[in-house]
């Protein structure tokens, strides 16, 4: 019995220093709250695009687009307010993409194996808002590029 106790004393105790994976997450980014804010952020650009589609694709001219363009040009004339339209049409969807992207992604780092893991949660509302925001930005940036080419070369 004494030998056994001595053997036990001599045994090395395992350190038990297995570190849990380091998780990186922003406290402000909650999936449901981000989706709600994303919906508000895409509301203005969606309304603008709705006006454009009504006039140019469905040929229903209720004065929607003309009024909107008039208002945007009024904003452009004011040196302070001229930044409002790009912020509303591109800045807000970009912010929507950022917060919904962060809400969907989950980052963790395993120090022992030196592995950085990025997992994506399947929250369909967040994904839908993110894709809609991405589509809006692509449409507006595409318009800017085509308009710029047209303005510079007169080819199109």
């Amino acid at each position: 019995m004494e030998d056994f106790e001595k053997k036990l004393d001599r045994m090395t105790i395992p350190s038990g220093s297995v570190k849990p994976p380091l998780e990186i997450k922003l406290a402000i980014v909650n999936a449901q709250r981000s989706a709600v804010l994303g919906i508000w952020f895409v509301a203005v650009p969606c309304y603008f695009l709705f006006c454009v589609f009504m006039k140019y694709y469905f040929h229903i001219n209720l004065g929607l687009f003309d009024t909107m363009v008039e208002m945007m040009s009024d904003l452009d004339k004011n040196p302070i307010m001229k930044w409002l339209s790009p912020i509303l049409l591109v800045g807000l969807p970009l912010l929507g993409i950022t917060i919904n992207g962060l809400a969907l992604c989950h980052f963790s780092y395993k120090p022992e194996e030196k592995i950085f893991l990025i997992s994506i949660r399947l929250r369909w509302l967040n994904i839908a808002v993110l894709l809609l925001s991405l589509a809006l930005i692509c449409i507006f940036m595409g318009y800017v590029v085509v308009e710029s080419i047209h303005h510079n070369t007169g080819l199109l």
Binding site: R33, V36, L37, I39, W40, F41, A43, V44, Y47, C51, L62, G63, L64, T67, M68, M71, L88, L92
Partner: protein, 74 residues
Amino acid sequence: MNFNWFVRKGIVYWPVSIFGWIIFLVAVAYAIYLFIDIDGRSHSVSDTLINWVFNCLIVGVGYSLIGFLTEKKT
């Protein structure tokens, strides 16, 4: 910092504190002022409504952003 000024129901933020109510009432008063202002300058009913809806959306975005940052967290 936890403000607890609003609670979220669906996509709308409802005020639950005095500061929340002040912000809510200011937003509503500004929307009414916008309607009167736009109506005074516009030429038709559709012109008024189109401009007013667009401005209301902008006010809604600002209000929701404040609600998002100051909502009661469970």
